[in-house]
Structure formats: C-alpha cells, structure tokens
C-alpha cells in the first residue's frame, strides 16, 4: 500500500524560487476557468426575452436560488452579498462536481484553500459590517454588552473562521482519503459509489460554507438587540436576533 497524499499542495508541477505551481493552484484555475467560460458563454447569448437557452435557464435557476437563500438568511436585499456568497458556493460546488473527473484534484481538499476562503470570509464580515453600519457602530458591537466581552468576541471571530476552514477542509479531504483507501482495498465499483457520495458531500459542504458565511456577514450587519425588518424583495418578515451560529444547518 503506497503513501496516501492528503493535500494537493505537495503536488508541484513547476517551481521557481518561492513561486510554485502546485495542484491546488492549477486545479483552482481549472475550476475558475470552467466557471468563467460558462459565464462568458451564457453572457454571449444572454437574452431578456421569454425564450431562453437551456444553459442560461440553468444559471438563472442557480443565481435565483442563491439570491433567495441569501435573502432568507440576511433578511435584506441580497444584491450586495450575492457576488461574494454566490462565488463561495459556486467555487466549492464546482470543485466538488469536477472532482468526479478522474485525475482531478479538488482544491478544496487543501487546507491552504479552505483557510484562504475562511480568511476571505473573516475579512468580508467586517467589510460588509462597516459598510452597512458604519465604522464606529460596527466596532461598538465588540464592546457589547460590556467591554469585558471584547476578548471573547475577538476569540469568537477567530475561532469561527478557524472552524469554517477546518470544517470544509476536513469534509473534502476525508472524501478523498476514503476514496483512496477504498480504491486500495476494492478497486472496482465501490470507488464509483464513493465518488457519488463525495459529490453529494461536496454540494452539501458548498451550501453549508456559503450559508455560514452569509450568517456571519448577516450578524455583523445588524445591531445587537435590534429588530431589523426585511428589506429584500418578497414578503416582509421580522427576524429576532438570536446568535446566528445557533441557526447553523445541522449535519455538517
């Protein structure tokens, strides 16, 4: 039984000094290229009439579903959050879908990638919070209910970023490891089933990652203890500000 490589960072295709092209970066570009090419392809034949091409129809369904989810979670107009949260979902989901291709190494199975995504969320939270509430109001959130909570709030921010990174990495990496182990024991049929399971897991993780990111951003864009009326398109609803983390979907 050979050594199982659990991270794609170690698969290096080209290196020059500190600059290197490993499998994580290369397959990230592959995912990016796939997403961008599909977008450009659809954009070229984009139409606002009632008769639309199938691919545009599919993308509209995806974008609309993302808008609805973001709107439901944030309780406000999803337009400004959709590019960030939607890209998180599409990237992770795209990587999971492309993972069924033999020889493809999912970049999300690298802790570097998941940490990068979690770090992006980490910075996106104060970005959207300050943009929505203003600098002083947002910073003030860390001093509530009392300034004594400041260290705990900071630790909470860091820990949830870490948890976000580790959760996605663990799930994606475990799928790859299980597939590799089973391939060694039962080379036929079972790996195919595991690939299917991996695909489902990947889609679920993409959904969870995006929703959690949105929950964090949403919590940062609301003032504590306030009740914010929904401003997104659709029926108006009132959200009580419980701890957003407690609303996390189960089964991660």
């Amino acid at each position: 039984m050979g050594e199982i490589s659990i991270t794609t960072d170690e698969i290096i295709y080209w290196q020059s000094g500190w600059f290197k092209l490993n499998a994580t970066i290369v397959f990230t570009w592959v995912v990016m290229a796939a997403l961008i090419l599909v977008s450009l392809w659809v954009r070229r034949r984009l139409t606002g009439t009632t008769t639309i091409p199938p691919l545009q129809n599919m993308l509209e369904v995806v974008v609309e579903a993302i808008q609805k989810q973001v709107g439901d979670v944030s309780g406000r107009n999803p337009a400004r959050f959709v590019p960030f949260v939607g890209t998180l979902f599409l990237f992770v989901a795209g990587a999971a879908v492309l993972n069924v291709i033999p020889g493809f190494h999912s970049p999300t199975a690298s802790l570097s990638t998941t940490a990068a995504l979690a770090t992006s969320v980490f910075f996106a939270v104060p970005y959207f919070g300050i943009r929505e509430l203003g600098f002083s109001t947002y910073i003030g959130q860390y001093l509530k209910p009392t300034w004594l909570m400041l260290p705990f709030n900071i630790v909470g921010e860091l820990s949830r970023t870490l948890a976000l990174a580790i959760r996605l990495y663990g799930n994606m990496m475990s799928g790859a490891v299980i597939a590799a182990v089973l391939l060694a024991f039962v080379p036929l049929f079972v790996p195919v089933v595991m690939q299917l399971l991996g695909l489902i897991t990947g889609m679920i993780q993409a959904y969870i990652f995006a929703v959690l990111a949105m929950v964090y951003i949403a919590s940062a864009t609301r003032t504590r203890g306030a009740v914010v009326a929904s401003s997104h398109v659709g029926p108006e609803k009132t959200l009580s500000l419980e701890d957003p983390v407690s609303n996390q979907p189960k089964g991660e």
Partner: protein, 250 residues
Amino acid sequence: MNIDWFTFVAQILNFAVLVYVLSRFLYGPITRAMAQREETIAARLEKADLQQREAAIAEARFDKLSTSLEHQRSDLFEQAQAEADLARKKLVQEARAEIQARRDEWQQSLLREQSTLINLVRERAGQQVVAISRSALSRLADVELEEQTIMSFLRKLPQFSAEQNDRIKQDSVRNQRIEIRTGFGVADALQQELRAALKDHFGFEQVTFATSEEMICGIELHVGGSKIGWSIREYLESLADELEGMWVKE
C-alpha cells in the same frame, strides 16, 4: 495538515479575482436579464389585462347593442304586424264596402226593373181591363163605359157630406180654377150635363175639361188642392202594391 502560505495567498487572490469576474460576467448580466424578463412579462400581463378589460367593455357594448337591436327588431316586427293588421282590416272593409255598393247597385237595378215591370203590368192590365170592361158592357148591356162613369159621378154628387161640400166651396173661393179631368174625351152633351150638375150643387160657373191618359178610365173634380173622383188608376195602384208584395215575398 499544513498550510502552504504561498498557496494560501494565491488562493485568496484567485478567489478575489473569481468574485470580481463572476460579479461582472455572471450575476450582473443574469440578474439584469431576469429583471428585463420580469418587466417584459409584467408589461405583457398588464397589456393582457388592459386588453381583457377592453374586451370586457367591448363585450358589454356588444351585448347592449345586441339587446338594443333585438328590441328594435321586436318593435319593428310589432309595428309591421300592426300595420299589416290595419291594412288587412282596411282591405276587408274596402272589399265589404265594394260588395255592399255592388249589392246596393244590384238591388237598385232590380228595384228599377221591378218598378218598370210593375208599371208595364199596371198599364197593360189597366188597358186590358178597360178594353174588356168597355167591350163587355157594350155587348152585354149596351152601355158605354165612359158615359156610365160620368153618370155614376153625377149620382154620387148629392151623396157628399156637408163637410166635403164646404171644403170644396172654400177651395173654389181661394182658387177659381175648377177642372174636370177624365181618362177619355167627354162628349159635349155630357159636358153640359156635368156643368149643370156642378153649378147646381156647388154653384160653379166656369168648369174646364181635361183629358189625362194616365187615368186610363175615370173622372176627377179638381178644385184648388182638393180632388174628388174615381179612376181605374187607384185600382191599378192596389194591383201594383199586390204585385210588389208578391215580389218581395219571393
């Protein structure tokens, strides 16, 4: 479970690029296309709604017009029927009037023919009666009918009542014309006899004589508006009345 920091930074950059590119080429265009489609569909729905309202208005107008036309048709039909009834009644009345006129004309014609026939019968009957009477009296009794008629008149003069005599005398005072009218020519001797009798009875000095063929046979004394006399014409009038009665009965 190591983090390759070069890869970490590169992935952050990659993700930022991907967010920018997808925002520019995917979310924006797709969202705009969906908004445009929603506007198109909303406009179509609004147009359809407008057309539906217009159709409803047109339908209501058409129903109203149809009802109006139906009423007009019904009114025209009733009017035409009334006019037809009126025309029929008028035609029936005209036909009845024409029939009545023709019947009246026919009856008038019939009455004329009847009157003509009766007159003819009366005339012929009178002539025949007189001729037979004259012939029979002449052959069987050797007397003249005309002479006996005048004699009979002379015999009846004294039988007049006083009232009749007074009235004739009063008439003669008002109107001096005193005339003896006969259906035949009176001989001079008889004329003298009549003048003498009238002078004795009434005191008439001037008496004229006239002949009337209509009387056929008989003698009459005309004094002013009064008349005394007998003629076969009166009998023939009775005969004519009898004949008319028979005619009507048949």
